[in-house]
Amino acid sequence: MAIRDRLSGNEAVAVAMKQINPDVVAAFPITPSTEVPQYFSSFVSDGKVDTEFVPVESEHSAMSACIGAQAAGARTITATSANGLALMWEMLYIAASSRLPVTLAVVNRALSGPINIHNDHSDSMGARDSGWIQLYGETNQEAYDNLIQAIRIGEHPDVMLPVMCCYDGFITSHAVENIELVEDEKVKEFVGDYKPEHYLNNAANPVAMGPLDLQNHYFEHKRQQAEAMKNAKKVILEIAAEYEKLTGRKYGLFEEYKMDDAEVAVVVINSTAGTAKYVVDQLREKGVKAGLIKIRVYRPFPVEEIAAALSKCKAVAVMDKADSFNAAGGPLFTDITSALYGRVDGVKVINYIYGLGGRDVKTDDIEVVYNELLEIVKTGQVKSVYNYLGVRE
């Protein structure tokens, strides 16, 4: 029987880490992710895990230590937020290109400046091209479930890529909600042992990692890395199916909420999906064919699947909790529109940048978005593509 509990998102992730019992955790504290290594370090000192806990002097060192440990053959996990993730930047690319499946809990927070500790997605969105798999979770339950699945996804021989599990700072990380935990021994069995084919601590088969890779070979390694990201989509679904058998909880590349006959839809990431689902329910009661898509897997981006899911809509609003400063639209908007291009014609797509720096997003705000979509369906006219929601004009 699953264990019913009530935990904050950070606590849930720390519990998942305890159950995974990784070989190494190297971390540096930063709000709002601090509690993850904090809870975990108490598991270490209480002897509840066998993990080597490395308290480092910066996030650059945290990711470097994770890379070194993972290269040595250790299963490794860390956590960070915002500027901490930014300080890891150089090493994010090295983890991915060295094909080391480090797992990282990213507790989403606005990336300075001006300095702000509250939630938006500017931190992880900036890392979208670093070669990491990115999973996003709406609730503490999803944050917990994603972290356990991340181990298997990243370590899969067809993938061998690091995985970021992102969830909203404070909203998900600090709010306490009901949760269903998997039993310790079942998690242990599900994640199994880390068995890389090549690792540094293998005296029988010595290898060198991270060599200089110039014009003759670098491109081939990048091409190989791109293939691993393509393979990840299938692996993510296989692992999700296995996890569903274990827990009864179903995960896909994204969640479709009342999309079957939806004429207007919002695409959103993380906790705002909860608010938006409430609005969808209200609109449905009034007879409006409203739906919602919540992205779980942002890297690899489920291009064909998203295009198919949105193909019957008349108007779609993509909500970005990060701006791209490209003078054209947010990162999710860019990905959704390019997914539709050449696959689906005639769906009107608009973009809202919302909630930056933790600006509250209420049901009224989401209603504004659906009303705009209904107006577009009625008139056939898009007044403005790239919009801001909840900013003082």
């Binding site: 094909r99 090549h198 010595p206 990692m209 890779d213 081939e220 190989q224």
Partner: protein, 102 residues
């Protein structure tokens, strides 16, 4: 000679064949990398002047001064000699000439 390699990565190796992340699977593969074409100056062994003192052998950074089974130096390994000239300086008997590479 080089021992059997598990993976030989060459300029023709495709992305499907190469090692993940550029991992070097075999120790000692520097031998596969022919550095001789970096050379602008070339050492020439003057066998008649050589006293087989072997002072040149340990200073070569590229292990390009070859020793035979009887413990005598033989000619240079020009596939790997970079033409640094260290051996030329070290030889006490002027038994190594140093000429421009053609």
């Amino acid at each position: 000679m080089s021992k059997e390699r598990k993976v030989v990565v060459t300029p023709e190796t495709t992305w499907k064949e190469t090692t993940p992340g550029g991992i070097i699977i075999d120790a000692g593969n520097a031998e596969d990398f022919k550095t001789g074409d970096w050379r602008s100056m070339k050492p020439i062994w003057l066998q008649d002047k050589c006293k087989q003192c072997l002072l040149c052998y340990p200073v070569c950074p590229d292990t390009s001064i070859l020793i035979n089974e009887e413990g005598k130096r033989v000619d240079f390994d020009y596939d790997h000699c970079k033409g640094c000239g260290v051996c030329v300086e070290v030889c006490p008997f002027d038994a190594i000439d140093f000429v421009e590479e053609e």
